[in-house]
Symmetry: C2
Subunit: 346 residues, 2 copies
């Protein structure tokens, strides 16, 4: 099957780029030293591929739905909800039916009690500088003590330095990670256990101390992470069809827009073109040079034709994938696999 | 069922606000004078409700998937793809099985040929100032002529002034619409037919000439449209759960973020709170007053508790709904209906 024969908009994965990313990461962080984060791709098929080709069997997730999907697809043997939950009934049912070990992050008495009642193991989630979840480092010991008193297996600590993973300068990123991990070290000493879970794609190789890194975006990548000069390749694009061309304006219109791309990191890119603007189901593009946004007669030179296929590059992989129900894996133009994005919704 | 007993994040529709919006619109533009746009809510259940309570039987859509869903659910008797398509096979199958009349927008010889081969009726889509699809007004006659020569029923013209629907000042909006409709009038004269389809929620009452207005956002609304002072009420929110609270920082964390909200119009709002930032599955909020983003000891005053429910208001309804698989309709806290968002994907 040729990818051009499928309807658009369509998530397209370059299989060779994906496998380059898998092997590059696995060489630095093999096996359980990496806990691939499924929130970045929301697909048990892709998780299974990473398990088979990268050799990782620990996964983490941001939602119970993701964890349930991995469990029901029998992917991984050590599954972490790297997030807090108060959904006791669902967590209980998950722990009961899972062959894998189920661990959840906790940062409060309420989340500890939910985990304990469900019989899940826990990591104490520590605030290492990102103003989101996580307890203060000096309170981590008390959280662990409460968890143990309720019968929980306390496996260690988790601290996500999400405020640093996108810092452009590597030296600044590295020193930021050191400061963040100094906070996590304080917590780890009082919590005990043998797991220190931290990091993300932008800091994947800056964690000599963490026992495991949580990275997911490295697999498919996006233009935002691509600015950091990481060794991972852009593997994800959205294939579109040219719906309309205006020689008078010098614009063309692609059939993917705000409902195909997470927009919080800005517009997607179209190699060789400028993106003028996105609307729900369209993106208007301009040639790289010319009269531009004033739009006085850019002329026809170089415009595509109605029906042409054009690939767009997402600025932020996670909220992009979450809009789609499938991704096709290609070798050149040939479709070699179709993977369901089956971990959407909650 | 109480809405607080359902998992979050959860799309919540205030049934009374929705029905206020339906009846307000239907009073001004009854029956076929309005063509509700399903792209704003992607639900055949909601479309059926609008048909029953508003009395409209013409609908429009932005994707073939939306049109197929309306057809298979037997909602509406006059369905318009207010967009171009080159998917001839799907369109042919749709026309064959539809009880409703199927019409598509065309703006080029390629899209005319697709429609003609499928046996669809057409509206000539005219560029009235939004740099997207649509032919120049002076070329509309030739497009119509081509369509008729291929056996198409040419019903009239369509022109969407999307560059104007969000203009804050009503007078400026109105004069912009007049200019746009002057362009559409030129096209209508050469095209013929009895349909002039134009407009959107922001210009819903500025179209004395158009035979039908395409509006969809008016039903659920969002904070962006709410700034215009329209008579439509905010009917849509996303119910969330407080996952984590930091008295030290003066922040709380809600369990909905970039994968629950279209972000192109900026952050969602949380009434009574400031939104600090959104990440994939979280939004960190601050009290309305206090030390704020410096985050030095804002104190505990007024922070919610872990487990509390908080409703968030989307900035842009269309790409928000497209992330969710269902919406619940409430009367106060009581769930009175559950509607599938069944028109997602393509």
């Amino acid at each position: 099957m040729n990818v051009h024969d499928l309807p658009t908009p369509l998530l397209v994965v370059d299989g060779a780029a994906l496998d380059h990313n898998v092997t590059t990461m696995a060489a630095e962080r093999p096996g359980r030293r990496l806990r691939p984060h499924v929130k970045a791709f929301k697909s048990t098929d892709l998780a299974r591929h990473v398990q088979a080709t990268g050799g990782h069997r620990s996964f983490c997730a941001a939602t119970l739905r993701e964890l349930e999907g991995l469990t029901d697809a029998s992917v991984g043997d050590d599954l972490l909800l790297a997030n807090e939950t108060l959904e006791g009934d669902r967590l209980t049912r998950l722990v009961e039916r899972a062959d894998a070990r189920i661990t959840v992050a906790v940062d409060s008495p309420e989340t500890v009690r939910t985990a304990a009642a469900a019989g899940a193991s826990v990591l104490v989630d520590v605030d290492v500088g990102l103003p989101r979840c996580g307890c203060p480092p000096e309170e981590a010991g008390a959280i662990a003590e409460l968890a143990r008193s309720l019968g929980c297996d306390v496996r260690g600590v988790m601290g996500y330095e999400g405020h640093l993973v996108g810092v452009p300068d590597r030296t600044a990123r590295a020193s930021g990670v050191e400061e963040a991990m100094a906070l996590l070290r304080v917590a780890a000493e009082s919590v005990g256990g043998d797991v220190v879970s931290a990091g993300g794609t932008g800091t994947w190789d800056l964690h000599p101390w963490a026992t495991e890194v949580q990275a997911g975006s490295y697999l498919l990548m996006d233009t935002h992470y691509d600015r950091l000069g990481l060794p991972f390749r852009l593997a994800l694009s959205v294939e579109t069809t040219v719906l309309s061309v205006s020689p008078e304006r010098g614009t063309a219109v692609l059939d993917a827009g705000l409902k195909s791309f997470g927009m919080d990191h800005g517009n997607p890119q179209v190699p060789g073109w400028r993106v003028f603007f996105c609307s729900d189901e369209h993106t208007t593009i301009l040639p790289p040079e010319g009269p531009a946004a004033g739009m006085t007669a850019a002329g026809t030179t170089g415009l595509p034709s109605v029906g042409d296929r054009v690939r767009m590059l997402p600025a932020h992989v996670d909220p992009t994938v979450a809009y789609h129900e499938r991704m096709v894996v290609v070798d050149g133009e040939e479709v070699v696999d179709v993977w369901a994005v089956d971990l959407r919704n909650w």
